[in-house]
C-alpha cells in the first residue's frame, strides 16, 4: 500500500487536486452547500492539503516529525472550522 502511494505520479496528484476543487465548486454553483455537506468539504480540503504537503512540498520522504506539523495544523484548523460551523448561532 505504502509503495503504491509513493509511486503516484505528480500528474495524477494534480488531477486529483483539480477534481476535488471542481467538485467543491460545483456543489456551491448548484447551491448545494449546507450543513450536511460541510464535513464533506472539510474532508476534501484535508485530502488536498495532505497531497500538497506530501507530494508537492515533498515531505513524504522526510522524517515524520517534519511532516507531522503541517498535517496536524491542517487537521486542527479544519476540525475547529467544523466545530465552529455546528455551534449555535450567536
Amino acid at each position: 500500500m505504502k509503495s503504491i502511494l509513493l509511486k503516484i505520479s505528480p500528474i495524477r496528484i494534480y488531477l486529483i487536486l483539480i477534481s476535488l476543487s471542481s467538485l467543491t465548486f460545483l456543489l456551491a454553483y448548484f447551491d448545494q452547500i449546507n450543513s450536511f455537506f460541510v464535513p464533506f468539504i472539510l474532508f476534501t480540503i484535508f485530502i488536498k492539503g495532505c497531497l500538497v504537503i506530501d507530494y508537492f512540498m515533498d515531505l513524504k520522504e522526510v522524517a515524520f516529525k517534519w511532516r507531522l506539523f503541517p498535517i496536524l495544523w491542517l487537521f486542527l484548523v479544519l476540525t475547529l472550522i467544523g466545530v465552529a460551523s455546528y455551534l449555535p448561532a450567536g
Binding site: 509503495s3 494534480y14 476543487s21 467543491t24 492539503g49 500538497v52 520522504e61 472550522i81 465552529a84 448561532a89
Partner: protein, 191 residues
C-alpha cells in the same frame, strides 16, 4: 526491508521551514477567527458572501494548483539532471500563472473598492480583506522568488547534486498554494 530511506531534514534551506510553519500558524489563527466570528453574525456573513465572485475564486484555485504543479515539474527535471532549459520554462509558466492570479485578484479588489467596501464595512469584509490581501502579498513575494529561481536555472546555477535554492523557493510557493486551498472554500464557498 525499508521501502524508502527518509531524509532527516525537509527539502531546501531549513530557515524556510521555520517561516512556513510560522505562516501556517498565523493564517490558521485568521481562519479560526473567521470561522468563529461567523457564528456570531451568521446572517451578515452569508449575505456579504453573496457579493463575492465564486467563479473567479475557483479559476484562481485552478491557476495556483497548476502553477504549483509546474514548479514540481521543474524541480523534477533538475533532480534528474535533465534539461535546465525546459526546467526554466516550467518555472516561467509558473510565474505566468502567478501573474494571472494577481490580475484576477486585482480586478476583484478593484470591484470591491468601487462598491465602497473596506476593512470597516463589516466583520465579514474585515476578515475577507485581511485574509485575501495578506495571501495576495504572499503571492507577489512568491512570484519574485520564482523569478529569481528562473534566472538561476537559466544560468545553470542548479545542478543534479546542488539545488537547495530551488527547493527552498519551491517549498514557499507550495505553501502559498496550500493556504489558498483552505482559504477559498472557507471564505467563498462554505455557508
Amino acid at each position: 526491508m525499508k521501502l524508502t530511506s527518509k531524509r532527516e531534514l525537509p527539502p531546501g534551506d531549513f530557515g524556510i521551514w521555520i517561516i512556513i510553519y510560522v505562516e501556517l500558524v498565523t493564517f490558521g489563527a485568521l481562519f479560526l477567527g473567521y470561522a468563529f466570528s461567523r457564528r456570531l453574525e451568521i446572517e451578515l456573513f452569508n449575505e456579504s458572501q453573496l457579493l463575492l465572485n465564486q467563479q473567479t475564486g475557483f479559476i484562481n484555485t485552478l491557476v495556483l494548483i497548476t502553477s504549483s504543479w509546474f514548479v514540481v515539474q521543474s524541480v523534477k527535471l533538475i533532480k534528474q539532471g535533465q534539461s535546465k532549459e525546459i526546467a526554466a520554462r516550467w518555472l516561467l509558466s509558473a510565474i505566468a500563472m502567478g501573474f494571472i492570479f494577481i490580475m484576477i485578484k486585482s480586478m476583484e479588489f478593484s470591484d470591491k473598492f468601487e462598491q465602497g467596501i473596506n476593512l470597516s464595512t463589516n466583520t465579514f469584509f474585515m476578515f475577507y480583506l485581511l485574509l485575501t490581501v495578506f495571501h495576495f502579498l504572499h503571492v507577489v513575494l512568491g512570484i519574485v522568488i520564482l523569478f529569481t529561481l528562473y534566472q538561476n536555472t537559466k544560468k545553470s546555477k542548479y545542478t543534479q547534486d546542488s539545488h537547495e535554492g530551488l527547493l527552498t523557493g519551491a517549498s514557499y510557493w507550495h505553501m502559498v498554494d496550500l493556504l489558498w486551498i483552505v482559504l477559498f472554500p472557507l471564505v467563498y464557498i462554505m455557508r
